[in-house]
């Protein structure tokens, strides 16, 4: 065994490994979404799952983005066939309930699924605190450039997309983003809303 040669040769591995290690910190799919900072696509969707008091809405009510001016909106796209949606279900439900009475709305948006599957799923998962909307033909999902489910959009008080989260969203992220959006002043048209901390490091998509 020629150890001197062996040691020299092994040095060649190091830059390659360092390059890969660095590459692992990057998400190749993280092509920055053009949406954050832009005006959120409008929607008018019907409630198919009512949620629970105090966030209850009647089935069949039409929810319009335009009606929620000045308040923060959290849109969570989900489906009954999505495994990762199960992971985030209880978190979202609890966090949404804890914000009841504050100027923030939580809505689920059913993606490529039948409302009856959605209702069954909610029942099976032990209920959902906030209402869910039906999105026929995935029109709204397309407007929002949905990559997959679950995906969660946070709209600021001026109706702009502030942050998009791909994959199951942790409670801490919701709280941080929603709190900072509620604290930000409403209606300052020219100034782009600053992306909240955490917006830069989107976790990789799950499920």
């Amino acid at each position: 065994m020629n150890w001197k040669r062996a040691a020299i040769a092994s040095l060649f591995a190091i830059p390659v490994i360092l390059l890969f290690a660095w590459g692992m910190t990057k998400d190749p799919k993280d092509i920055p979404s053009p949406l954050p900072g832009r005006e959120a696509p409008t929607f008018a969707l019907d409630v198919f799952a009512p949620g629970q008091p105090p966030l209850l809405r009647n089935v069949g009510d039409t929810i319009r983005l335009a009606d929620m001016k000045g308040e923060v909106v959290v849109l969570n796209f989900w489906a009954s066939w999505c495994l990762a949606c199960r992971d985030e279900h209880s978190t979202l439900s609890e966090v949404a309930r804890s914000y009841a009475g504050k100027p923030v709305h939580f809505y689920g948006v059913l993606y490529n699924d039948a409302p009856v599957n959605g209702t069954n799923w909610i029942a099976e998962m032990g209920g959902q605190s906030y209402p869910s909307l039906n999105d026929p033909k995935a029109r709204t999902a397309i407007d929002y450039g949905l990559y997959g489910v679950p995906e969660t959009f946070f709209l600021d008080r001026n109706g702009r997309v502030a942050y998009k989260h791909t994959g199951p969203v942790p409670a801490a992220v919701i709280a941080r983003v929603v709190d900072s959006l509620m604290a930000a002043p409403a209606a300052t048209p020219a100034a782009p809303s600053p992306a909240p901390a955490g917006a830069a490091s989107q976790p990789k998509a799950g499920g």
Partner: protein, 652 residues
């Protein structure tokens, strides 16, 4: 329930591998030969346990046991049985399980076939394979555990990725790829065995290794061709190769393995290129691990990449261990690898093999650089770039043409050295083939330089290779008075390795002509047709008969029927469709292909009116594309001829 059984089997297999990994080297170090079978027993037991886990997964998939996380992720009650079974490799965790199973199978086969061989080569090779299996066992217990428990149990799942349940080739391409890719671990294990046992100074290990490499190479070749075919039949753009990072990942080790299959002959015959061959074997395996890392870590974006969690870091660790230990071992033994023979003359087969190796490794390096460049660019310049087809085509076309030419020169030249007369007799006649093929290419309408050169070099090589069959058979005819057919079959049977190689060459020529013609002469037309209207492309008329729709359990389908007209007679039809899967918002285009000897009529449905009033179709004339698939089959056939065990050499 079945998930628990499988998980227990995997846990036990981890322990069994760890035991085997320790007992083998200890037995060798202490000189206790009688302990070595214990390490082999570990390999067999591991195969049994991973088989239990894999079969359990298939059962869970087929019985729609959605309590198993992987089934809940890829299963669906509406998916047809075949696609349910093959979703075993449709997503990350299942593919790692299947991978581990193929590896365990190879390891068991290696021990089964070679355990009687004296010396420490096989015990060390077994230990190396156990080392690789340890890594996959850890993945299956930890970050890629497919048997996680889902609670509450979902009633149904999303089904496999629509692209993966749209064509039968998905049942063929991935297993072939795994067999080829994972199989390269065996030559590597023998290389490690040779280095650790000291046998690396002799050439016998190369003989064993070459056989295993040839088998894996045959699987990998078939897999690459099947992957091209799948992409062609499914993706709807009418192409078969896009230099996608993951296509490259399968192609890069294929190039080094091909180089090794040729240069190994030089070592066997002339005791040369020993260190080079060791590097090729080790390098091929490292490149397969690199390819796995690229496809499974999420480091590079690609149509093939799976969504991932922490598994990338495990792969990073593994690739670091493999790369450093391989470099240390090879560099450590390098000064013991003395070359005995030397190159006698530039006009010899070994010189051509050397050139072939230089081109193949340069090819490999080019593709590797192109694949990794986006990563390097982002690291050093902070910009996202993509390296597109123009780079790869520009860089690799000259090398492809040169390799085709060498495929004609190599078989014609003898070992050691050829006299000037011999060179003239052997190398001049194939020029007729070059002229002939170039003329055919020009007549077909090829006008680009590389297209014509590819035809010319292929023509040269076709004549040179066929001539070898002819000369050999003619010699047998005059020596034994055999008929042409008997002479030819006995010629091949008498030297399977050599003539198997030439058969594979002929397969490559079909592939080369297919690629050269289809990339130079492809024509396409897009037309919006009402029923009864027709469109003409490359002398063929297609008439829209109807726009139709139907519901299938797992999807809805919109399709059109186009009749191919021969005058007023319907001579065939194509039915391109769009499949709508519930979990995918985009329709999955499903082209249809009508094949002729001269090429394919490729039809893709672009758009349709909801009432079926009209439809927009894209028709592509793809000259000689069927030749690529046919040639791929011949390549594999040649490899099978080469691997087939010699029963009794004929008296000649």
């Amino acid at each position: 329930m079945i998930g628990t059984l499988a998980r227990d089997a995997l846990l036990v297999s981890l322990a069994v591998i760890a035991f085997g990994l320790v007992i083998g080297p200890v037995a060798i170090a202490r000189g206790k030969r009688e302990w070595i079978p214990l390490s082999y027993a570990a390999i067999y037991t591991n195969f049994l346990l991973v088989t239990i886990a894999t079969v359990s997964m298939v059962v869970a998939l087929v019985t729609h046991d959605f309590s198993v996380a992987y089934v809940a992720q890829v299963g669906s009650r509406a998916t047809p049985l075949l696609y349910t079974v093959i979703s075993l490799w449709g997503a990350l965790e299942g593919s790692i399980l299947f991978w581990g199973w193929v590896l365990a199978m190879y390891a068991a086969a290696v021990v089964w076939i070679n355990s009687k061989r004296p010396g420490n080569l096989v015990p060390y090779a077994g230990t190396a394979l156990l080392g690789v299996m340890l890594f996959f066992a850890i993945l299956l217990i930890g970050p890629a555990n497919p048997f996680g428990v889902v609670s509450p149990v979902p009633a149904d799942g999303p089904g496999p990725n629509p692209l993966l349940q749209n064509h039968i080739l998905m049942a063929i391409h991935p297993p072939l790829l795994y067999l080829g890719y994972v199989g390269m671990a065996v030559p590597f294990a023998f290389a490690v065995g040779a280095m650790l046992s000291g046998e690396v100074e002799r050439d016998d290990w190369i003989r064993i290794t070459r056989r295993w490499t040839l088998a894996s190479w045959a699987f990998l070749s078939a897999a690459i061709i099947a992957g091209m075919w799948w992409s062609y039949e499914v993706l709807g753009w009418g192409g078969y190769w896009a230099w996608d990072p993951v296509e490259n990942a399968s192609f890069i080790p294929w190039l080094t393995a091909t180089a090794f299959l040729h240069s190994a002959m030089v070592q066997e015959r002339r005791q040369m290129l020993r260190l080079w061959n060791l590097n090729l074997v080790v390098g091929t395996f490292v490149l397969t691990i690199l390819g796995t890392f690229l496809t499974r870590s999420g480091i590079i974006s690609s149509v093939h990449a799976f969504t991932t969690g922490t598994i990338g870091y495990f792969f990073l660790g593994f690739i670091a261990v493999v790369l450093i230990s391989a470099l240390v071992m090879v560099a450590g033994v390098s000064d013991r690898l003395k070359t005995v023979g030397h190159f006698d003359s530039p006009a010899s087969r070994e010189t051509v093999f050397l050139l072939n190796n230089l081109f193949l490794t340069a090819f490999c390096f080019t593709v590797l650089v192109g694949t990794l460049f986006p990563l390097v660019a982002e690291a050093f310049r902070g910009v996202k770039v993509s390296v597109g087809e123009p780079f790869f085509n520009k860089m690799t076309l000259p090398m492809m043409v040169a390799l085709l030419f060498l495929m004609g020169v190599g078989p014609a030249l003898p070992w050691k050295s050829a006299s000037p007369d011999e060179v003239k007799h052997k190398l001049l006649p194939p020029v007729i083939g070059a002229v002939l093929f170039a003329a055919v290419g020009l007549l077909m309408g090829i006008r680009n330089v590389y297209g014509v050169l590819a035809f010319a070099c292929t023509g040269y090589a076709v004549v040179a290779n066929l001539r070898e069959f002819y000369i050999g058979s003619a010699a047998r005819r005059s020596a034994h008075g055999e008929g042409w057919f008997t002479a030819l079959t006995r010629l091949i049977a008498g030297n399977r390795r050599r003539y198997g190689g030439y058969v594979s060459h002929i397969g490559v020529f079909f592939v080369a002509l297919g690629i050269a013609a289809s990339s130079s002469l492809r024509t396409e037309r897009e037309a919006t047709l009402e029923p009864g209207q027709s469109v003409v492309l490359a002398g063929r008329t297609a008439r829209l008969k109807s726009v139709w729709g139907r519901e299938e359990p797992q999807r809805s389908v919109i399709g059109v029927t186009l009749e191919i007209m021969n005058g007023d007679v319907v001579s065939g039809k194509v039915e391109p469709r769009m499949n709508f899967y519930p979990m995918s918002q985009q329709p999955v285009p499903t082209p249809d292909v009508k094949s002729y000897a001269a090429g394919d009529l490729y039809a893709n449905l672009q758009a349709f009116q909801p009432q079926g009033k009209n439809a927009t179709v894209k028709l592509i004339w793809e000259p000689l594309v069927p030749w690529i698939w046919f040639g791929g089959g011949i390549v594999v056939l040649g490899a099978i001829v080469g691997i087939w065990p010699n029963r009794r050499r004929s008296a000649a």
